[in-house]
Subunit: 233 residues, 4 copies
């Protein structure tokens, strides 16, 4: 989320392609304090504007317990990022807002630990929990992370919650996103989280993993037969 124009253009295009939820980062957990930290509350307001303009539901990441109320005012779904996946106080604060929670898997989180982190949400009285696989940290360097698609059948087996797949973070390379999405859909993933940018070559961050709006629309078309073959709509 870089500017109002950028966000609204993206929101309209992904909606036209068939998407129904929009994620935008208002608070950004940058590895370095000297990098872009997100637009903060101004970003939340932009997201709300995009929601009104398009009817898309919105998701954004919560980074601080003290922002839980503020973020809940503007968003439909609260994301807990990989770095905070075992920040249990944040999980509880997010859960108590009553908003649905999208819980990303930590970089080296065992599936058992992920399920137990989810229990911090559920035992706070919030049963709207989604797990999101975004790749684990391994020795491989060709991809940014190793996307673990076995989480799809496992989360279905071990919990009643939906499983979302994030191939953009998982692979860290736009050229692999299409194939990863196809595999995820065929395996029964309940949703996909795909990074798009009107002009990936000029993105402020992670440009190499973002799809252009054209490629996104094409991907949506190519996924349809697999969605049907997997018995979904």
């Amino acid at each position: 989320m870089e500017s109002e124009t950028h966000l609204l253009r993206t929101a309209e295009d992904v909606r036209a392609a068939g998407d129904n939820v929009l994620r935008g980062g208002a608070f950004k957990p940058s590895t370095s304090p000297y990098e872009f930290q997100g637009l903060g509350e101004k970003g939340l307001k932009l997201l709300a504007k995009a929601r009104r303009a398009t009817g898309l539901a919105v998701v954004t990441e919560l980074l601080s317990e003290t922002h839980a109320g503020l973020v809940a005012e503007y968003t439909d779904i609260i994301q807990i990022g990989a770095r905070n996946s075992q920040n249990f106080q944040l999980l509880i604060a997010a859960a108590r807002t009553g908003k649905p929670i999208l819980l990303k898997r930590g970089l080296s989180m065992k599936i058992e630990e992920w399920l137990l982190a989810g229990e911090y949400v559920l035992s706070s009285g919030n049963c709207n929990l989604m797990f999101c696989e975004r790749g684990i940290r391994t020795f491989e360097t060709y991809t940014r992370n190793t996307l673990d698609l076995s989480t799809i059948p496992i989360i279905k087996q071990e919990s009643h919650c939906p499983i979302v797949i994030d191939p953009s973070q998982g692979a860290g390379r736009a050229d692999l996103v299409k194939a990863m999405c196809k595999g995820a859909v065929a395996m029964g993933a309940d949703a996909l989280l795909i990074e798009v940018h009107p002009n990936p070559a000029e993105a402020w961050s992670d440009g190499t993993q973002q799809l252009s709006l054209e490629l996104f629309a094409q991907l949506m078309r190519e996924l349809r037969p697999l969605i049907l073959a997997a018995g979904r709509e």
Copy 2:
């Protein structure tokens, strides 16, 4: 491969379900010298018998340079296992038999190293090389290994060789094999390597990762719509 009856029964049943290649282990690379080491040449003869009886092509693993000629007499495809994936002398000896080579990815082999190990086959004058992903070693313990399905688009991008997926070793759990196969097919895998046993509960090794012959036949039926959706036959 435990006995003649076991092998022939399995070969007939998988063939009836639509399979066309049979793998059997004659020489077994056991982690411990005190475990079952395979039936050796007797095993190769059984494989040849199953081939004659069913018309299936056969694959078996080569463990020693000194067996290259012997193994090549009996098999259609030579497998180089994960533990020997950087045993370059073995790769060269296998390549020189002229038989197609199925090169498994090592447990902690980077994709670049795998491609370069493949170059030992190709530069020995043998261009019938297949790469086989069988899961990498990570911190996760729910599954035996982490099956890295991103290798499907990557091998297609970086080489001209087919990519085979082994979900049985990859997941180490029969209950995950079906979903992993569906993902692999949707992503464009050229073949699947699936462990089956007439009675998994009584298998001499790796019983928890083997499909019964009934489940295998059912899986083959369920894969068909995905194979078609992926534009293959």
Copy 3:
């Protein structure tokens, strides 16, 4: 930290053996919400009591931004645990108390990311930062984690901050702690973080990695010649 008697007995004994800082967990980041979560503020008060009784400085973990003021009242050093090592809001809140910060390395944190997490403390105006290596997550299962002692020369090379080694978490086995401490001291570690318990067999958590008070005293004696050989006091 299980009770007042337990804590005071431990504090007195480790002090007699030559120790000068005491860590006690008041807020405990348990993997599961259904496990013991620590004694909370009551625990902080016990720590303060142990400090008064023995003159030891105390360290305790901060889990929530909203507790930063409370914890800073009672402790001399604030620990940021491995699970929160990239919880940047917590790092900033801790740094702003002005107390020295002990920053544990995350389970799969690259050294570069660890140094950058430390920059969140330093750039908040707090230069009393210590890095604490506590083992990384690898495929090995003999030990709980893999203690990466190369961090000792690396942190010294890349920063001006002290490096503390935690062999108890690192190995997860009391029988390896002595050797790991000797290595750390010879390599120039600035401090050791060692878990002790008056009766490890009855510890409420992590009993297998805790030293008895007798073994701790013996370890302190055995380390002396190495401390001198390493040119320290």
Copy 4:
């Protein structure tokens, strides 16, 4: 091992510094078939010459079962490299020469698997087995591998065999070798394997991890007090 002059100069200098075993690579397991593969038998002859000239014992790597007899003629100790650590046929062929075996740990080998690979040597009737830790493959990229010094107490606990530490491969950086050696000695390592080169900046391979002969001599002097403090000679 690049040439006769290079080898003899190195052998004389390390001997003068107090070393008593010389490793040289005659057969080199290069990741790519298009890289330098070693001098082969010519290299073995050079090693024998260096042995005669200096009285140093020599170690070299065996890559092929078919070379076992040849290599055994020229060397005092046979090294089995990390890539062949589960090449069980090679282990058996090496063991049967009767020469002492130096068994490197595989890049992602669990300690239990390493001990079992050693059993292939022991159960072949050769009890002169040494384990050599050379770093495992992890997510960290600052170092080439993660040197796991916990193997020192573990191998001593689980076997009767010596444990050798290879910090050059382990860290992959000459600037870390000194500290890693100090740690290893303090923890009870039985030997160190250190890569040296008369002129690291011009080495044909792995130059960044090799010590100059001057730094090697200085390291040997600095290790002495620690060797004594560890109760060894």
